[in-house]
Symmetry: C2
Subunit: 368 residues, 2 copies
């Protein structure tokens, strides 16, 4: 949790969407800009699975955030005009309560005693922050990847509490390929003997499994097309220590994955990852009323924007089209933008030049 | 090795393509049909990474082979007309010498003392079998997946020894996404403590890592489109024993992967898998002369056929197009067939109705 992060601790029991409850959870969040007198300029950001609430730098925390080039004065999410809020997902490990937090009823870490987490819970956690900030209606909810589904959960469970919705590289629910990817990532972590059914030593976590899971993640966050351009069949000159193993890294793409895995080590709690990963599988807009159609019907939006990327293999383009079609039924002012970015699912993090104009236009901003 | 499998043991040192040699390797193979008097009707099949030489049933071994519906009387590879040979790849573990074989100079298993394996070695092993069978020129070399690259290696290293070439869901070389997939599969196996730098107990191999690798394999052998149709978001009713773990299998697609992983257990030696997997990364037609163009120029073919599948994510369609274009430069009678199968890379094993007519036509057969 950085110096710019604030927290709200809720009073009493927080009822979980599936079953069970947690006692007085804490939600961590950051804000940028000022809430207007009419309290009508608030934008809520839902992140993907792994980021914290530190979406952008601020006076309190000048370090770059994960969406640094999107949020700030004169940027698409313009802090001169809007009051922007990003909440660390319930179940995560950057200040919000999750499996890595102390269970007040036992004094021990929750670990696998944490109840089943859903994106409805993630949405509700954020709703309670918005409520505590005195905001009755959000100008816009915007969500990336898993955050797009959390955003849908927010809008469907609180119709009228959101005027506009932006979904980026997300969907109404996961398809089996994405479920398979995440299931295998979870199995990699669970197969690491150090995971020990979630009871790992916090100072000696199941890094081996987490490293494998991160590499598989990177393979689905980027695109084969990007890697052909970027690496081709280039060899790496870097050497590894273990010369007894003839299968050590030889190609640049292998070293790229290795570097990403190394960067991620220790950055995310393994149990929190497992809970959020499963929550991403479980979300299904159709569970809100029994069908996708009935789920969409519960929405009450003025405008919506769906952005997808042609090279995304985790939330492929046809899912963007399905989402936009469903939204258009209940919110005629829905725009679908298909971006021709080469960097796959992660494009919204790394291909800012493509995303900024689209989001700027949605907010009728002047982003030069 | 089944009852239909024959073996040839080569005399003396077998020089490996990169470096080193192995002493008197054995090659396992099966055949169907009869060699004609002119010895001009032989077809050589190169398999993908994991199959044995048992491509089809025979009088000696009536059990189904891995390409049962393709080979036999009246089938596209018509054993009434052709003499069909399938060699278990050098480096594999179904009768041919590989890392799981005894190193005659030590009396111990080769394990990681096996020299670096390349598909040029796989091709050369098969060439020596063909030679031993008294065949100077093959009617056709046909290869699937990794076998397509082995087939290219055969044709490029023995120009004139092959009249026709069929490549199925293969390429001139692997792209970085495929390398990344295989690298991660290898890392899963190598990360299993039981692998022990290749020195695992043969009766207690690194099954955990092999299971994970197989699941990732299945994710790239099939297609997301197939799984949407086949599984959607269907839940499984099967239960797992470990109820303490809340991340157990919930979706049908997870159970599907589990079943495939269980079937594969013990079916393939881990070290052999690592060697063949790396060999698939290493092959590059461009290494034959310094460029793809020069590699193609070494070929001397009468006709060639390239078959690819639109949903293949391991050897994508643009690689089929590149291969066909390169072949056409040196062999004008080259046909590219793009099949609209939904089952991805594995279609050549499971979507016989799509492949049979194409291959039948190539051989001007009458496949009803």
């Amino acid at each position: 949790m950085g110096p710019g992060t604030k927290t709200i601790t809720l009073d009493g029991r927080f009822q979980m969407h599936r079953a069970g409850y947690i006692e007085s959870p804490t939600l961590a969040y950051e804000t940028w800009g000022e809430l207007s007198e009419k309290r009508d300029n608030a934008i809520l950001i839902f992140s993907g699975l792994s980021p914290s609430a530190h979406a952008s730098s601020s006076a309190e925390d000048p370090s770059d955030g994960w969406w640094e080039d999107m949020i700030g004065p004169g940027l698409p999410l313009d802090s001169n005009r809007f009051y922007i809020i990003c909440v660390n997902s319930l179940g995560s490990c950057f200040g919000s309560t999750g499996p890595a937090s102390i269970n007040p009823s036992t004094g021990e870490l929750y670990r696998l005693d944490f109840p089943v987490l859903t994106l409805e819970d993630v949405a509700e956690g954020a709703f309670r922050v918005v409520e505590a900030l005195g905001i009755e209606q959000l100008h816009t909810v915007i969500g990336n990847s898993m955050g797009g589904m959390s955003g849908l959960a927010y809008c469907v469970n609180h119709p009228g509490a959101v005027r506009n919705f932006i979904s980026i590289s997300s969907a109404t629910r996961a398809e089996p390929f994405a479920i398979a990817v995440r299931s295998l990532q979870r199995e990699m972590i669970r197969s690491d003997p150090k995971w020990d059914l979630g009871n790992y030593d916090v100072d000696d976590p199941p890094i081996l499994g987490q490293r494998l899971a991160r590499k598989l993640g990177m393979m689905t966050y980027r695109s084969p097309e990007e890697w052909v351009e970027r690496f081709g069949r280039q060899r790496t000159t870097a050497t590894e220590e273990n010369v007894a193993d003839p299968f050590k890294i030889a190609f640049s793409v292998e070293m790229y994955l290795e570097n990403h895995a190394n960067k991620f080590i220790g950055a995310f709690d393994a149990n929190c990852y497992l809970y959020l990963s499963r929550a991403s599988d479980l979300f299904d807009l159709a569970e809100h009323g029994g069908s996708l159609k009935s789920g969409f019907k519960r929405l009450k939006l003025e405008r919506s924007l769906v952005i997808g990327v042609v090279t995304d293999i985790l939330f492929p383009l046809h899912q963007q089209q399905q989402l936009a079609e469903g939204l258009r039924e209940v919110c005629p002012d829905t725009v679908l933008v298909e971006l021709d970015c080469i960097r796959g699912h992660d494009s919204f993090l790394v291909d800012m030049d493509a995303f900024r104009p689209v989001i700027c236009e949605f907010f009728e901003g002047d982003c030069g």
